[in-house]
Subunit: 308 residues, 2 copies
């Protein structure tokens, strides 16, 4: 594995026929510079979500290959499922992972969208950080109308001409959204109270829209089985709003209710840097000077990922 | 790279003839399951220190090969250098790194010592966690007398019969110490005071021999260029005495002097778990329950190290 790594989480509109799913997922197996981390199918959604990591060029090629396979195997005119969808490859986010920026993820996203548009005739909309206009940043807005409504929607060329590929939908593969975004960190803090209102009030104060931290989305929820209230968060850019900052702010706000933090939890895959940032903060690790703590280089496991 | 990884830091008695050094180091290059992380030569010490990581069997074979090369190339009867030494391969510590215990490192150490004793006729003393008797745990005690005095020293068979290999020294390669130990974490805390006495007092209280933490060695030192006193530590088993515990104890003891902690620093390679432990503690990450924080599996970079 090289030094520059990007994560990709493509969503395919097939979650029932496992033979087809395996053929798509095979595009990520045994490829140099590409590593399949996970794939999950949901028959109700009739959808498959793949998590794969790779070096930019190799990842691009594998994603393009999977695109070709999905276009070949999936017929959206016959697709049924609970999850909203607009194409055989519904959405393809690229996420900076190691030694890469969101700009580099964006570059790969645009390459993939361009190739796919030309090679397979699938119109592609750039979204999130790759979006070409503000009204295209949000995936839900692009996908509104779904596969069945997309041909009509795209007649409004001013608003919905695709960024790459033909101006009309692919007859069986529909359209796709491709773009770059920062990794999400799902972080929950359980309060030592069964009072949901307290968790909701704290969530309102710490989240961006309520005057809180720039990259925090938060709601209060009830953990019924444990009779505890939880502040449930998505950190949308942990490099700017660190986990420890959200955590300490919750503790601070909880004080006005005399409520303590019982515990916290990180859900799903977490970039190591998100944890190292916390160790650096709490241990007051110096980040400059002759004895610099260059976390990445000093962590043994990371050295193992480097090429000699 | 597989899941079980052991680190080895062999010391060779050659630090001047770089052609010889390269031939020895080559034993760790291009080997499946083995990764050379670092090697440093010191002409004054006339010594080379290699840092390598690998799967147990592959690491064993590479270390044995390097042993053979060193025995072939190094003549201890002609060796000069400031660093104490007793053999062409002076000392070979094995350190558990990922998904391995000190017992597994010990098993590899014993295999290497046995093979080397038989194959190259180099007497081997097991030391540290592998030692066969308390008086052999400490490397300095084994090495006392150095290469030149070792033949005489080993005449006392009751005390100094080797654990493996012939009962007399190899004529040109001397003897070697091989053994397992836990990784050291070098951790320093800088105090907001130029008073060395305060750092020394704190060091005395937090270290094992002074009634402090079991796996902490500590001294107070003066950083003259910054006019700051530092508590300088070696954590000899961070899995039992965590970095955060040493850190918090220093802050606690510093309070009696009204002194604050200015910053801290980790020196050299650090196992990731040492940092993750700190993030877990300070963020109060729950380590049980249905939403378990299984740090290792959740850290993206670690998933990259796993075999599919």
């Amino acid at each position: 594995m090289g030094n520059k790594l990007i994560e990709c989480v493509p969503n395919y509109s097939e979650g029932r026929d496992m033979q087809k799913v395996e053929q798509i997922v095979d595009c990520f197996r045994g490829k140099k510079g590409v590593k399949l981390l996970d794939y999950q199918t949901d028959p109700n959604h009739n959808r498959c979500v793949v998590t794969v990591i790779g070096e930019p060029d190799e990842l691009r090629d594998a994603v393009v290959a999977s695109f070709g396979k999905a276009v070949e195997l999936i017929d959206m005119t016959k697709h049924e499922g609970q999850h909203p969808r607009m194409g055989a490859v519904d959405v393809v986010p690229f996420i900076p992972c190691r030694n890469t920026t969101v700009e580099e993820a964006d570059a790969v996203a645009k390459e993939v969208a361009k190739i796919v548009g030309e090679k397979y005739g699938v119109p592609c909309f750039l979204y999130e950080a790759s979006a070409s206009a503000p009204h295209r940043e949000n995936l839900a807005k692009i996908r509104k109308g779904q596969f069945e409504g997309m041909a009509e929607k795209m007649k409004d060329k001013e608003l919905w001409a695709p960024d790459f590929g033909p101006e009309t939908i692919h007859p069986t593969a529909g359209v796709s959204a491709v773009g770059a975004r920062m990794p999400l960190v799902a972080f929950n803090v359980n309060l030592d109270t069964p009072n949901l209102e307290i968790a909701s009030q704290i969530a309102k104060r710490i989240r961006h829209i309520g005057g809180g931290l720039r990259y925090v989305k938060a709601i209060g929820i009830m953990l019924d089985d444990r009779n505890l209230a939880q502040v449930s968060m998505n950190l949308t850019d942990f490099t700017k709003t660190s986990v420890y900052r959200a955590f300490e702010l919750i503790k601070m706000e909880a004080k006005r209710y005399g409520v303590n933090v019982l515990e916290s939890e990180l859900v799903g895959l977490v970039p190591m840097q998100a944890l190292v940032d916390c160790a650096e903060y709490y241990l007051q690790l110096a980040s400059f000077g002759p004895m610099t703590f260059d976390a990445d280089k000093q962590i043994m496991e990371i050295r193992l990922l480097e090429e000699e």
